[in-house]
C-alpha cells in the first residue's frame, strides 16, 4: 500500500504528446478514479505508474520515494488488464501463484496465500480450471486475485468492467468495491464511463486531451467542471452566450451570480437536468420542438425567445410536441467559460 | 538488456550465413579459373555465362518449359484451391476435416512415393512425357501450400463483406470481382508465388513424369552438378534465382497495377 504522487509528468511518442504536465496525489488506501475519453492518455498514465512506460519528464513517487526509474518488476503496481490477460496455459491456481513464484515466495507461504485469496474471490472450486473454461466474471475475479495476492502497493484497474454484460458489471463493481474496502489497497480505476467513476470513488481525476482537467469529488466535477473541455466530455449541457460583469452572468435565461472575471464574450453552461419544464407561468416562455422518451426520463428540445434552442432532461413525460410551456432554471451553480 | 553484443553477433552472423553464399555464387559465375588456395577467382570472365545463357539452345528451351509449367501449375492450383479454401475456411460441413487432411497430406507423404505411384497412371492416361502430365504432378505438391494460405485468408476475412455486398444489391459476379477477389488478393498472391516457386524447383517429379522429353532448368542443372562442373551449375543456379525473382516481381506488379492503392495489400 502506498501513497502515490505524480509530479509534472509528461509523455510523448515522437511528435505526439500523450500526457502534459500531470500532477496528482493519491492517498494511501484510496479508491481513486481516472476518468477520460478514449485516447485521452489515461491508460498511458496508468502504464507510467506501473512502470511499463517511462515518463518523458516528471516524477513518479511512491511513499515519498522516487520510483520513476524503478523497473516494472519491482514496483508492485499491478494492473488488472481490460481483457484480463490470464495466461491461457496455466490453471487458475497457477495464474494466481505466478507472481508469488516470480517473487520467490516459499512454497508453504505461497500455498496459504493462494488458498486465502481463492476463498476471497469465491473460486476454490475452479482452481484447477484453465482460463478458457471460465466465464467473463470468473476470469475477472482470477485477474483480481492474481493481482491482490501480491499485496500490491497500488492496484491499477484498466477499464475492468467494460467487457462484462450490464447485469454482471454492476455486481462486479460491488464486488471490487467490497474487496477494496476489505484489503484497503490503494486502487486506481481507469474508465471512460463517468457514472462508473462517480459511483466507485470519492475522488475523480479527469483527463481530456492529454491534460489533467480537474481533480475533485464526483459532485464537484458534475456540477462545476472547471474547463470547457471537461464540460464537453461530460456532455448533456446547453451553452448560452452572454457576458460577465461584476460577478454576474447576463444571458437569454437571465442573470446568474458567477465566480468569474468580467468578460464580453462568455459561455454559460446549463446542464440538461438543471432546467425544468412547467405549465405554470414562469420567466421564460417556450415551445416543445422535439421529444424523445428514454425510460427513466424524457429528453425535450425547447425553443425559447430569440431562437435559442435548449435541451431539457425531465422526469415528466407528459409534455407534447408543439405545446407552449414555461422554462425555469433550477437553483444550482452556473459555470461560465 | 543483457548480452547485447552476443545477441548482435548471433543475429548478424545469421544474416551473413543466409546472404553471403548467394553472393559467392554470383562471383563463381564470372570466374573462369579459380586455382586452389586463392580466395578470389584467378581469372574473371563472362565465358561460362555466355556459353550457358547465349550459346546453349537448350537453356532457352528449359527456361521456357520451366516458366510455362510453373505458370500452368499456378493457374490450376488456384483454380482448385480458391473454391475449396473458401468452403474449408468459411463453412462447417460434414467431412470438412477429412477434406482438410486430404489436401495437407502431400506435405506428410514423401514426394518420390507420390511421383512413382502416379507414374503408371499417367502412362496409362498418355500424359507421361507431356507438359500436361508434369503440370498435374506439380499441382499435387503445390496444392497443400496454396490451400493452407487461402484457408487462413478466408477465415480472416470471413463472409460478412460478401453478405453485406449482397444486401446492398450486388450481383454474384460483382461480389466476386469487387469484394471477394480484392479482399483475398494478398493471400492469392502469396499462394501464387509459393506455387510458382515449388513448381519451378521440382526436379525428380519432372524427371520421372517428363520421361526425359520435358527439359526444365533443374534437369539441365543436375547433370553438371553430378559431373562437378560447378561453374556451369552456378550459372544455372543464378538463372534459376533470377527468373524466380523476376516472376515474383511480375506477379506483384500485376496485382498492384490492378488493385492499386488498396489497403489490403498490407495485411
Amino acid at each position: 500500500m502506498a501513497n502515490i504522487r505524480l509530479e509534472h509528468v509528461y509523455k510523448s511518442y515522437g511528435e505526439q504528446q500523450v500526457l502534459a504536465d500531470v500532477s496528482l496525489e493519491i492517498d494511501d488506501g484510496e479508491m481513486f478514479a481516472l476518468l477520460g475519453p478514449s485516447g485521452s492518455g489515461k491508460t498511458t498514465l496508468l502504464r507510467l505508474i506501473a512502470g511499463l512506460e517511462a515518463p518523458s519528464a516528471g516524477k513518479v513517487i511512491f511513499n515519498n520515494a522516487d520510483f520513476t526509474h524503478v523497473s516494472a518488476q519491482r514496483r508492485k503496481a499491478i494492473i488488472v488488464f481490460q481483457d484480463y490477460a490470464l495466461f491461457p496455459h496455466l490453471t487458475v491456481w497457477q495464474n494466481i501463484a505466478f507472481g508469488l513464484r516470480a517473487g520467490g515466495v516459499p512454497r508453504v507461504a505461497l500455498e496459504s496465500k493462494v488458498h486465502d485469496i481463492l476463498g476471497l474471490v469465491h473460486l476454490k472450486d475452479r482452481q484447477h480450471s484453465l482460463p478458457g473454461e471460465l466465464s467473463g466474471g470468473q476470469k475477472q475475479r482470477v485477474a483480481l486475485a492474481r493481482a491482490c495476492v501480491l499485496e500490491p502497493r497500488v492496484l491499477l484497474l484498466d477499464e475492468p468492467f467494460s467487457n462484462l454484460d450490464t447485469g454482471l458489471r454492476q455486481s462486479m463493481r460491488d464486488f471490487v468495491a467490497a474487496l477494496q474496502e476489505r484489503l484497503r489497497f490503494t486502487c486506481i480505476l481507469v474508465t471512460h464511463d463517468k457514472e462508473e467513476a462517480f459511483m466507485m470513488s470519492r475522488r475523480v481525476a479527469v483527463i481530456v486531451d492529454s491534460r489533467l482537467q480537474q481533480v475533485d469529488t464526483p459532485e464537484a466535477i458534475f456540477t462545476q467542471p472547471l474547463t470547457k473541455k471537461l464540460s464537453d466530455f461530460l456532455g448533456e449541457a446547453n451553452y448560452l452566450d452572454g457576458r460577465v460583469q461584476g460577478g454576474n452572468f447576463y444571458c437569454a435565461l437571465g442573470i446568474f451570480a458567477v465566480n468569474a472575471p468580467d468578460s464580453a464574450n462568455a459561455v454559460g453552461r446549463f446542464r440538461w437536468d438543471q432546467l425544468a419544464l412547467t405549465r405554470e407561468a414562469g420567466p421564460h416562455q417556450g415551445r416543445v420542438a422535439a421529444k424523445s422518451y428514454a425510460g427513466k426520463a424524457t429528453y425535450y428540445t425547447v425553443t425559447i425567445e430569440r431562437g435559442h434552442t435548449l435541451n431539457v432532461f425531465s422526469a415528466r413525460h407528459d409534455f407534447f410536441v408543439g405545446e407552449e410551456i414555461f422554462l425555469e432554471v433550477l437553483p444550482s451553480a452556473v459555470n461560465v467559460y | 538488456m543483457r548480452f547485447p553484443r552476443l545477441r548482435a553477433i548471433i543475429f548478424y552472423s545469421f544474416l551473413f550465413a543466409t546472404s553471403a553464399p548467394v553472393l559467392s555464387l554470383v562471383v563463381l559465375t564470372v570466374s573462369a579459373a579459380w586455382r586452389y588456395p586463392s580466395l578470389l577467382p584467378t581469372v574473371f570472365s563472362w565465358r561460362y555465362l555466355v556459353s550457358v545463357l547465349a550459346q546453349d539452345r537448350r537453356t532457352a528451351e528449359a527456361l521456357i518449359n520451366s516458366t510455362l509449367i510453373a505458370a500452368l501449375t499456378t493457374a490450376l492450383t488456384l483454380l482448385l484451391a480458391v473454391p475449396a479454401a473458401k468452403a474449408l475456411g468459411l463453412y462447417q460441413f460434414r467431412g470438412r476435416q477429412a477434406v482438410k487432411l486430404l489436401v495437407l497430406l502431400p506435405l506428410m507423404v514423401p514426394g518420390i512415393t507420390v511421383t512413382m505411384g502416379m507414374h503408371l497412371t499417367l502412362i496409362h492416361l498418355g500424359l507421361a512425357g507431356s507438359i500436361a502430365g508434369v503440370v498435374v504432378v506439380h499441382t499435387v505438391f503445390t496444392l497443400p501450400y496454396a490451400t493452407r494460405v487461402l484457408i487462413n485468408v478466408f477465415e480472416l476475412v470471413g463472409e460478412k463483406y460478401e453478405k453485406q455486398a449482397a444486401m446492398l444489391g450486388a450481383s454474384p459476379r460483382m461480389i466476386l470481382t469487387d469484394v471477394t477477389l480484392p479482399m483475398i488478393m494478398p493471400g492469392l498472391l502469396s499462394a501464387a508465388i509459393m506455387s510458382f516457386i515449388v513448381s519451378f524447383s521440382q526436379y525428380i517429379t519432372t524427371f520421372f513424369i517428363g520421361g526425359g522429353r520435358i527439359l526444365t532448368v533443374p534437369l539441365l542443372l543436375v547433370p553438371h552438378l553430378q559431373s562437378g562442373e560447378i561453374q556451369v551449375a552456378a550459372v544455372y543456379s543464378l538463372l534459376f534465382i533470377m527468373s524466380t525473382l523476376a516472376s515474383i516481381a511480375l506477379m506483384e506488379g500485376i496485382v498492384r497495377k490492378f488493385y492499386k492503392g488498396a489497403y489490403f495489400l498490407q495485411t
Partner: protein, 311 residues
C-alpha cells in the same frame, strides 16, 4: 406477414427453396474439383504404390498378390542401415534447424523490430530451391571449396586433402548443411511470427506481476510457443525424411537413404524390382504418417492447455 401457409413456412419463395438446397450443398460443390483431383492423382498414386508393393506390377513376370517383397526388403542386410541413416539425417537436420531457428527468433525478439531489408534478407533461403543450395554447399564446403581455402589462409591446413570431407561424407554433414540453410530461416520466420504475438500480449503482464526475463521465457513464452515449434518440427522432419534429391546428389555413396534406395530399385530394368521399390515407399509413408499421428496427439494434448484458453 403473420400468417404463413405450410408451403411458405417450409420454403419461403420458390427461389429460396433452391437457395437453401444450394446452401447445404455449396461447400461440397466448392471442394468437389479439388477432392476429385486429389482422388485421381494423390489417392490413386498411394493405392497404386500399395498394389505394386504387393507384387501387382503391370508388365512384370508374375502378378500375384503377395507379401514376399515386404519380407525380402525387410530382411535385406542393409535395410536397417538405410532406415537408421535416413532417421539420423532427418533428426539431426530437424533438431538443429529448430533449435537454431528458435534461438534466432528469441534473439530477434529481444533486439526489437528489425528493418525490412534485414527481414527480407534472412528469408532469402526460403525461396532458393534445394538444388541451388546443393551447388552452394558444394562451392563452400567441398575439399577445394571456399571454407577449405580460408582454412589454408588461416594456416590450419596446407593441402586440400587435409580439409575434412564435408560433402559426400558418411556423417551426412553436407546434407545437413543444405537442410540447415533452408530450414533455419523457415523455422525462424514461423516461430518469430508467433513469438511476437505471444510476447506482445503477455510480456508486460508477466513483468507487471514481477517476473524476470528468464521466467517470462521459460514459463510463458516457451510453453505458449510449443504448438508452433512442434508444427515446424513435424513439417521439416517429414520433409527431410522423405526427401530424395539432397541425399541423392551430395550423400555418401556408401549408404543410401530410403528414398534413394527406392529410386535405385525403381530404375532397374527388371520390373519386379519395382515391387521392392514400392515396398520401401509404402514403409516411408507409413513412418511419416505415424509421426504425423503422434504429432496430432501431442498437439491435442498441448492445445488443451493453451488454445483451450483464451480467444
Amino acid at each position: 406477414m403473420q400468417e404463413k401457409s405450410p408451403l411458405l413456412k417450409s420454403c419461403g419463395k420458390n427461389t429460396s427453396c433452391a437457395g437453401r438446397l444450394y446452401a447445404t450443398w455449396r461447400p461440397y460443390i466448392l471442394v468437389a474439383p479439388l477432392v476429385t483431383f486429389m482422388g485421381l492423382t494423390f489417392v490413386l498414386a498411394l493405392g497404386s504404390a500399395v498394389l505394386q508393393s504387393l507384387g501387382f506390377v503391370p508388365g512384370a513376370a508374375a502378378n500375384v498378390l503377395t507379401l514376399r517383397f515386404y519380407r525380402e526388403v525387410l530382411l535385406e542386410s542393409d535395410f536397417l542401415t538405410s532406415l537408421s541413416y535416413t532417421i539420423y539425417i532427418a533428426l539431426v537436420a530437424t533438431l538443429l534447424s529448430n533449435l537454431l531457428g528458435v534461438m534466432v527468433a528469441f534473439v530477434m525478439l529481444s533486439m526489437g523490430q528489425r528493418p525490412k531489408w534485414q527481414r527480407l534478407l534472412y528469408q532469402v533461403p526460403i525461396v532458393i530451391p534445394h538444388l541451388v543450395v546443393i551447388v552452394l554447399v558444394f562451392h563452400l564446403f567441398s575439399q577445394t571449396g571456399v571454407a577449405s581455402r580460408l582454412a589454408y589462409w588461416l594456416g590450419c591446413i596446407t593441402h586440400p586433402n587435409q580439409f575434412p570431407l564435408l560433402v559426400f561424407d558418411r556423417l551426412g554433414i553436407g546434407i545437413v548443411l543444405v537442410y540447415l540453410y533452408k530450414q533455419v530461416p523457415f523455422a525462424t520466420m514461423i516461430v518469430a511470427g508467433t513469438l511476437e504475438n505471444i510476447s506482445a500480449r503477455f510480456k508486460e503482464v508477466a513483468y507487471n506481476l514481477g517476473a524476470g526475463r528468464l521466467q517470462l521465457c521459460t514459463q510463458i513464452l516457451l510453453p505458449l510457443l510449443m504448438p508452433t515449434i512442434l508444427s515446424v518440427f513435424l513439417i521439416t522432419f517429414a520433409f527431410t525424411f522423405g526427401a530424395f534429391e539432397v541425399p541423392f546428389l551430395i550423400g555418401t555413396p556408401a549408404w543410401n537413404t530410403l528414398p534413394v534406395k527406392a529410386f535405385f530399385y525403381y530404375m532397374r530394368p527388371d520390373l519386379t524390382y519395382r515391387a521392392s521399390s514400392m515396398v520401401i515407399n509404402v514403409l516411408i509413408t507409413v513412418i511419416s504418417l505415424g509421426f504425423a499421428i503422434a504429432y496430432g496427439h501431442i498437439l491435442a494434448l498441448i492445445q488443451r492447455q493453451t488454445e483451450g484458453g483464451e480467444r
